[in-house]
Symmetry: C2
Subunit: 194 residues, 2 copies
DNA sequence: GAAGCGTGTTAGTAAGCAGTAACATTATAG
DNA sequence: CTATAATGTTACTGCTTACTAACACGCTTC
């Protein structure tokens, strides 16, 4: 535990972020420890001294992710109960959240057959988010502010859209991740309005 | 060229499909030639005799895909110019098309840093499909049967949704790929109706 | 300045894997 | 039945890569 003052990242932190950067691009097997060391700015020996094995670095990455789950805290406080406003806010929040863990997402996709738990975990987080949106839509239906229908299917419509957009821009990096998000959400909001 | 009568697949065909099956799960590097041989029901030697190298199998797979592009033929003929009907038909057609090439899709995702061309090619096919939907929506707008707006953004809304659904079920295989497709498309169709 | 810690360097081992060579066996066609 | 094509078996080479051992260097701290 260092002082809270942000200093130069530690050796293990630099190795971890280098590993994540490389493996989210090429996958576990294609990345060599030598490449990790070079990316982190150390010698290969230091990597082995710090983590013991290549596998241990990956394990630590996943452990770190699982212990710092994407925060879903205070979205509910920000609801205005105006349909389009809220759906846009929820979508923007989703994109912020997943953008922060997109490298872990890519890794989980590429190594899904080796570490199915991680991939399922990430999927479950998305489902949780969909549940929140579904809860919201149920409330809106009760208030006569949203069209009647299965709220989970309605929420999933929005979330599959958001996921499709996220995945596209994550695997094919370009600018403008959120380009046209407002206009697209407006279409869905209109489809859900009364 | 054998007779047209469908016989037992040839050696090279069996090796190719075994390779695609394995590599779409684990990626190029994690699959050994020995595993390919076992999956195809041959000895390792036969694989090398047939293709010369591991890389050559992959090259052939991609070549086959590029020479048999997903057919987009006669969708336009099937349009009814009823918004929801057509958007559902287009979505179903999209899912049929991509389901047929989902293994190539998975491979292109996992090897995207090694073969960016394939990944971009697949993305371009999706964009072409979006263009078709956008053309359709433009026509519908002109006929006063769809709400005014940028038709490409409208089409992309539907297609990001479809892609999100496809990707979810492809990377996390379960039954019911098209479950709730109709209800979800109905939401989007409602958002696009006049 | 001595001790200890973090890091680098060099050399090496062991395992896995792509690919080759040579010969044996089985299946198929004429 | 025989010749040929397809496939199997075994043994091997060479390369890559995870990982270890041993020693050297420099920086901080007391």
């Amino acid at each position: 535990m260092k002082t809270k003052q942000e200093t130069r990242p530690s050796t293990s932190e630099r190795i971890l972020s280098a590993t994540l950067r490389l493996m989210s691009e090429k996958g576990y097997r294609s990345v060599t420890v030598k490449q990790i060391a070079a990316e982190a700015g150390f010698s290969e020996m230091t990597v082995f001294r710090t983590f013991g094995s290549k596998k241990a670095i990956l394990d630590r990455l996943i452990e770190n992710y699982l212990y710092n789950p994407p925060a879903e805290k205070t979205i509910r406080d920000r609801l205005t109960y105006d349909l389009e406003t809220d759906l846009l806010m929820l979508s923007e929040f989703y994109h912020e959240t997943v953008a922060a863990t997109e490298q872990i997402y890519l890794l989980s996709v590429m190594e899904r057959s080796v570490m199915p738990d991680l991939h399922v975990n990430i999927h479950n987080n998305a489902t949780k988010f969909t549940d929140i949106v579904a809860d919201y839509l149920r409330t809106m239906q009760e208030q006569g502010k949203a069209v009647k229908g299965d709220p989970f299917v309605q929420a999933a419509t929005l979330m599959y859209f958001n996921y499709g957009k996220f995945a596209t821009y994550t695997m094919l990096p370009r600018a403008d991740r959120l380009k046209n998000l407002q206009a697209a959400v407006a279409v869905i909001a209109r489809g859900l309005a009364v």
